[in-house]
């Protein structure tokens, strides 16, 4: 019952086969392990004050005062600022991004699309701090002068910068979705005497709906998680914004601004802020998964 002999050269090939399989497995596990480590670390640090030190999680979420020196850690104004900034950026960025995508995929002559498309993609490659610098040097003074503000750093400045930053994601993903709509749908609609623009809005965009929704959710993720650009134009005041011109401090900026010097409970509370932020992103990813699983009609 001995197994048939394997030639020596082939034997080496089989060993190599097995080894490379293992190597790939280790690489694949590495990213999962990093994810678990980061989540675990943030959660353990962030949960400590509520579990071991008697702070109320409800107060943390819904209270108005963030004064670390007085032991007050309440992040409601930051949650509101993050949500407002994201929604505002979506209101401006999504229509512009969607129309750009429609233009590139459906209307623009090929040559023009070949210039605009890479330009939009390049926009995604610009480091976010440069967006912040641009916002600080151009948008903030513009707002200051034209709206007569004492300080141009405001919610509206954040919204404008984030709207620009989400454009490449929204444009690229929805353009791909629109291009993936079968040509036969367009032909069918045009052959029924419906105009080109009518066809786009009645057939093509609805058929690309799930891809476009994905684009919006991804853009949203980009907006809610953005830190560097936001710090420079937000103004960072700890108030619940009541107007677009109020200075704000979103969740991300709070962590970035204070983590450098925070210690003890203060530091743990910043991790807790991170948990809240992370939960937002998790919810978005969950929504995204739901959308793409429904994608095939």
């Amino acid at each position: 019952m001995s197994s048939p002999p394997v030639e020596k050269t082939n034997k080496r090939k089989y060993i190599l086969e097995k080894l490379s399989g293992r190597l790939f497995l280790i690489c694949a596990l590495l990213s999962v392990i990093s994810l678990l480590l980061i989540i675990g670390f943030v959660f353990i640090k962030g949960i400590t004050p509520f579990v071991a030190e008697g702070y109320s999680f409800i107060d943390f979420l819904f209270g108005d005062d963030w004064v670390p020196s007085e032991d007050k850690f309440e992040i409601f104004p930051m949650i509101v600022a993050s949500i407002y900034a994201t929604i505002g950026a979506l209101i401006i960025g999504v229509p512009i991004g969607l129309f750009t995508a429609i233009f590139l995929a459906e209307i623009a002559p090929k040559k023009l699309a070949k210039i605009i498309s890479p330009a939009v993609q390049l926009l995604a490659g610009i480091p976010s701090v440069l967006y912040g610098v641009f916002g600080l040097a151009v948008i903030v003074p513009f707002l200051q002068n034209n709206l007569g503000l004492a300080k141009g750093q405001s919610l509206i400045a954040v919204i404008l910068v984030l709207a620009i930053m989400m454009l490449p994601t929204v444009v690229t993903v929805s353009e791909t979705a629109i291009r993936a709509v079968p040509k036969t749908y367009r032909e069918g609609s045009l052959a029924l005497g419906v105009s080109h623009i009518g066809t786009i809005f009645k057939v093509v965009v609805p058929a690309a709906k799930s891809g476009i929704l994905t684009a919006i959710v991804l853009g949203m993720g980009r907006a809610i998680g953005e830190t560097m650009a936001v710090i420079l134009v937000a103004g960072n005041s700890l108030i619940i914004p009541t107007s677009l011109t109020d200075s704000v401090r979103p969740l991300t900026t709070n962590i970035a601004l204070e983590m450098g010097y925070a210690a003890g409970t203060h530091q743990e509370m910043l991790f807790a802020t991170g948990i809240v932020l992370f939960s937002f992103i998790l919810i978005l990813n969950f929504v995204l998964a739901r959308i793409s699983s429904k994608g095939g009609h």
Binding site: K110, Y185, E187, G188, L192, G193, S195, P206, A207
Partner: protein, 275 residues
């Protein structure tokens, strides 16, 4: 089996064409003169001329790549969508040159089209059929209901779908989808219907149903059908044009083409020696 066909939309246009004296009881609906088509540098159609008669079925046959679909698409200007297409010559429908006007929307309202593969939109059956009329600005619910029912009856599919009008059209079988496509074309009340290999993706039973439908529809519509299937051309059409390499080799009554073809190439093709 199918009795209710859409009301008469065809205006009776009597016109005398001197060169057609022997068939003076039939009106020419579409007249093509010296039509050539180029894709950039490449010529795809070579000065075609033919007259398509009103309320007849005209079949276009020929091997793949011979230009029959391209020709079909010149009749409702669907080739306009392709970059670099250049067309010379004249196509007149009811004595109007369709390439002199730029109102393709009007043209495509008058000339409906059914494609090779059923291309229903991802919406309900009702919305698919109502899509064209809605595009024409018809909003009235009762009027739309009436058009949808008439069109689906006209395409002999009403009984199969009347209980599921609001469900997705993409849940229908291939043959049913193709007949809903025909209903969608009928809903525009066209005078001419172009069909680009409408049964090539269907099973024999569905094919038979569509062929029966075509035979019924010719009472009300002028039909031009591209087909790979020569038996189909023989079964459904009154006249047949044989295309080869972008030219019309022979165009005549279908029974003549299939019994006494004049051209050797036609005979070779229909007897299956090539193609």
């Amino acid at each position: 089996m199918m009795t209710t066909i859409m009301g008469k939309h065809n205006k009776d246009i009597k016109e005398d064409l001197p060169q057609m004296t022997e068939q003076s009881n039939e009106n020419t609906k579409i007249s093509v003169r010296d039509l050539s088509l180029f894709y950039g540098e490449k010529q795809a159609l070579y000065s075609l001329s033919l007259d398509i008669k009103e309320k007849e079925v005209t079949a276009l046959i020929g091997p793949s790549g011979c230009g029959k679909s391209t020709f079909l698409r010149t009749l409702n200007r669907m080739n306009d969508l392709i970059d670099g297409v250049n067309i010379t010559g004249d196509i007149t429908i009811d004595n109007e040159n369709i390439y002199q006007s730029n109102d393709v929307i009007k043209l495509r309202t008058k000339v409906g089209m059914v494609f090779q593969k059923a291309n229903l939109f991802p919406m309900s059956i009702y919305d698919n059929v109502a899509y064209g009329p809605r595009g024409q600005g018809i909003k009235n619910k009762k009027e739309l209901d009436k058009i949808v029912e008439e069109s689906l009856r006209g395409a002999a599919i009403w009984d199969e779908v009347k209980d599921r009008l609001k469900s997705s059209a993409l849940g229908l079988s291939g043959g049913q989808q193709q007949r809903v496509c025909i209903a969608r074309a009928i809903a525009m009340k066209p005078e001419i219907i172009l069909m680009d290999e409408p049964t090539s993706a269907l099973d024999p039973i569905s094919t038979l149903k569509v062929e029966e439908l075509i035979a019924d529809m010719k009472q009300d519509y002028t039909i031009v059908i591209v087909t790979h299937n020569m038996q189909q051309a023989a079964r459904v059409s009154d006249r047949t044009a044989f295309f080869l390499n972008g030219e019309i080799v022979e165009f005549d009554k279908t029974d003549k083409i299939f019994s006494v073809p004049k051209d050797q190439r036609t005979e070779d093709y229909i007897t299956g020696r090539f193609g």
